[in-house]
Every structure is written in structure tokens, then in C-alpha cells.
Subunit: 112 residues, 2 copies
DNA sequence: CATAATAGTGACTTTTTTATCCCTATGAGA
DNA sequence: TCTCATAGGGATAAAAAAGTCACTATTATG
């Protein structure tokens, strides 16, 4: 392999991108919540412990830009907004089950 | 489910722990490198782009404390240190393949 | 004698990420 | 009229993560 190729490859390691994409502090809780179905911002707020509105919005926005979530705004009053998982988001959830199992291993190991 | 149970459960979500464990900036590159076999710190430094010694050591230390890596120090001069994957570390690698595939999906999708 | 290679850390700065606080706007209902 | 619910953002502060620089120590090599 040419060194240029290796350099280019390093820059777009799919796993690094994947991990960065899910690394925000509230993103995993968001994923669990929304895996149950469409959710409004206020529902996230109630469902996730002590997240601030501002911060929640930031994370939701990033996830939307990353193509994991879709945002739907209804022209009503009071305003209504709903987030849902995209196809890619659903595939992410599938990939995360394995990692969840690994997390259990890690927890069990620390208990011993 | 009691609300106390739910609260307790939220505090130890295995997936959150797993994601936190691999979230350091250089941890994925470290995992790829060491998946090929034992590695010395200097090899990591050469193998991974522009990591600083200091920062690399921090990440290695965390991964060691998390039980992913084992550190072996030889009483030689010049000093020799070798890191290797633990069993749990190897299982982590297996779990990461799926996430790597998902990362590819994400990349392909953005290209379109 | 100077330099390079090995591994490591203390003190500090910079950058990034999270959190806090206070605003906007609208309609329903007490 | 006052309060609550809805959703959102600007300005700023605090905390966490990453990066920088300079130093320790030892042996081999030029």
C-alpha cells in the first residue's frame, strides 16, 4: 500500500467516524428513547435525567445533521416538533446491541 | 418497574459505559494498532499520526485501567514497555466491527 | 563530547464540550 | 392578567479533554 493511501485511509476510518458520531454526552440516552418511537423534545427532557434544553437541542441538531434523526416541525400552536430514527439510525441501533453486550462484560468484570 | 430501579438502571447503562470507554481521541487508532499484536509506546507514536507522547500515555493508561490493555515493563536499558490486548479488549474489537460497517454506511451516504 | 533512542511526567495553555441564565413568541385556561 | 405548556436561541461560565514544552535517566554510537 502506498503511504499516501494509508494517510488518506487514516483520515476517514469508518470506525472513528462512527464513534465520534455517538460520543456526545446525551446521544446514547437519546437513541434509547427514540428507539421506542417518535419523540418530541419535551419528551426527551422528561425522559432523560437533568438534560438542559439548550444542550439537548445541540445534540439533537448534530444527530440530525449526521443523518441519524429526522426532525419534523408542525405549524401549530403551541408548536410541535417530532424526531424519529432514520434508516441509518435504525441500523446504528442494531450495531449498538453488540457494544451494549460488551459493556455488560465490562461491568461484570469490574464487580469481581 | 419502580422509578428507583429505573434511575439506578440509567446510571449504569452498559452501552453508555462502553461508548465512554472508547471515546478518547486516540483510542480507536490504538485499538487498530494493537490488534495486530503487542506494541511498544514508540511504535504507537510512529504508527499513529501526530499524537503527543503525553497524550498517548494518558490514553494508554485509561485503557489499561479499563481493562482493555495490559502493560508489561521490562527492566532493561533502554527501557522497554509492551502493551497487549486483554481478553475483554479482544471482545471489544469484535464488537467494533459492526460499528465499523455502520461507519462505512454513514460515509457512503454522505457521498451521495 | 554530542546526539539519538528508550519511557515518563510536572506545569501550563489551548481547544472543545457542557452547563447556566435569561430572553422571544403564542394560545389555553384559572 | 397571570401562569403554564410548547420550541428555540444568544451570551456567557464552567468543566473536561487535548496539546505543548521542558525536564529526568541511561546506554550506544558517531
Amino acid at each position: 500500500m502506498e503511504i499516501q493511501e494509508k494517510a488518506a485511509e487514516n483520515k476517514v476510518c469508518p470506525l472513528e467516524i462512527a464513534v465520534n458520531t455517538i460520543s456526545g454526552k446525551w446521544k446514547i440516552p437519546i437513541v434509547w428513547q427514540i428507539n421506542e418511537g417518535k419523540k418530541r423534545p419535551s419528551e426527551f427532557l422528561r425522559g432523560i435525567g437533568k438534560v438542559d434544553r439548550r444542550v439537548l437541542n445541540q445534540q439533537l441538531k448534530e444527530m440530525e445533521q449526521d443523518g441519524i434523526l429526522t426532525k419534523e416541525s408542525f405549524n401549530e400552536l403551541p408548536p410541535r416538533v417530532e424526531y424519529s430514527l432514520t434508516d441509518i439510525g435504525k441500523k446504528l441501533v442494531e450495531a449498538l446491541w453488540l457494544l451494549n453486550d460488551w459493556g455488560k462484560l465490562l461491568i461484570d468484570k469490574k464487580k469481581v
